[in-house]
Symmetry: C2
Subunit: 285 residues, 2 copies
């Protein structure tokens, strides 16, 4: 399938953290003109010094003349939808976002802009901020769009072209399906992993040095996402509350089944469960 | 602190899987004579071909003349304590094991051999079997001994010398403390991680392709130990049942607290929990 080219003219990026900055680097490498709108003057300076964009400003007027604007803001600021920002984006411009929860973003922005497309490039590192952006971050990663009946198909095609330009894998699904899926494979793991750290600390409170000395790579891997960015973890849970609560309930049922195997000394059952897990995991890699 | 040298004479290793095989490679590299007792003739052949040991046999007579014997058997076979094996180890020989649960092993073998020392070198890879052994596996890893009042101090010093010879970090603690600690940082994570895989499969049953397409490195890391060796996971739970059940109960309480934060929309509380986790994790690395 061939994707249409990006429209001519500059691309605007609102927010130059990990996602916005990485996008800027990739688009500049492709020869495009990229303009960044940021919150603080120091961020604009650093973004220019790092070459993330050709123009950076704290004034929304920097977006004038852009044909495509990417809202690369944290979920809370995206959902707050600053009126000055909304006013700075003319109706003919295609607008997309990069938020990791889609239903509330779609609900909010669909009414604010006629050419809004809700999307989520699923790439990341442990870093954040204007120093975090990396070339090639989106290469081979999923870029999920969640159009509704009201989404304009030409605008959707422009966002698809953006994803293709940075080498991402394009997917479309319902916003609610996206939010349930990321609850299961991204937001729930943060809580499950955080609880492991809390429990090692609390249940091991009478042998604190021993639990720390004996923790190995398995514990390190299992707790990586639970020991990650607290603001991000909280925002995901807050903005995807219903799907995360549902994922937690399903998770508890699975864990309770394993716990019953242990209580009932059902070792054949436990081994069958773990065998199924061994077969399941490669499907998710 | 200087550790005493290993006693002169050959070292016997019973079982040449990942741990036994790796130990053989390291001890041979140090110029020691190593003899292996294995279950099947093909394993003896492969062990010799790989250079894990200088002599390998399915006959316990191969251990004659050894001054130190390491029982590198899976927990179930270790606890079954084959009478022919016990009879093949004279009382003057120092005997240790490598089992990942210590209280039942200590209880069983303390009565079987006067110079038994319960120990647990905490190293591993995802591999198993005679092809799995690696040089340098124990370098910098903890090697935990769990002596009781009945453990002979000279025998303990010999095992300490063995750990030092392969570059491991020596630790001593009570068997029950070891078992509680590994339940928290090793055995519980297997169940917690397995339940994540089961839940992604079950709760995502109506969107199976989407959950698989969107799973990323965070999900891969969090589920690594849950998708591991089912026999090993089951043996650990079975042999450390009480401590794992206790760890699960503590874990459930931690997860329920996080769940309440979500139910009550207590985002400040959730963020404080995740902030604490971010600070905790480096202590365990």
């Amino acid at each position: 399938m061939t994707t249409p080219p990006l429209p001519p003219g500059p691309v605007g990026i609102v927010g130059l953290g990990l996602i916005g900055g990485s996008l800027g680097l990739d688009l500049r490498r492709l020869g495009l003109e990229v303009r960044g709108l940021v919150h603080r003057p120091q961020t604009a300076e650093r973004a220019l010094a790092r070459g993330l964009v050709q123009q950076a400003s704290t004034d929304a007027a920097v977006l004038a003349g852009c044909r495509l604007v990417v809202l690369a803001l944290p979920l809370d600021r995206l959902l707050a939808s600053d009126p000055a920002l909304v006013a700075a984006i003319p109706p003919e411009v295609v607008v997309t976002d990069v938020g990791s929860v889609k239903a509330p973003v779609l609900a909010r922005w669909q009414g604010l802009h006629p050419r809004f497309v809700a999307s989520h490039p699923m790439a990341g590192t442990a870093q954040a901020g204007v120093e975090a952006g990396l070339e090639g971050l989106f290469q081979g990663r999923p870029w999920v769009a969640t159009p509704s009946a009201a989404t304009e198909s030409e605008a959707l095609a422009v966002v698809q072209a953006l994803a293709a330009a940075v080498g991402a894998r394009w997917l479309c699904c319902e916003a609610s399906a996206h939010d349930r899926a990321v609850a299961l494979i991204s937001h729930l793991p943060v809580l499950v992993s955080a609880a492991l750290l809390q429990n090692a600390d609390r249940s091991g409170a009478d042998l604190p040095d021993l639990v720390r000395a004996l923790a190995s790579s398995g514990f390190a891997d299992t707790t990586r996402v639970g020991g990650g960015n607290p603001e991000l973890g909280t925002l995901m849970a807050r903005c995807n509350r219903e799907a995360v609560a549902e994922a937690l309930a399903g998770y508890r049922a699975c864990l309770e089944q394993l716990e019953r195997r242990l209580e009932q000394a059902d070792w054949a059952g436990l081994q069958a469960d773990l065998e199924q897990c061994r077969q399941l995991r490669p499907q998710f890699l």
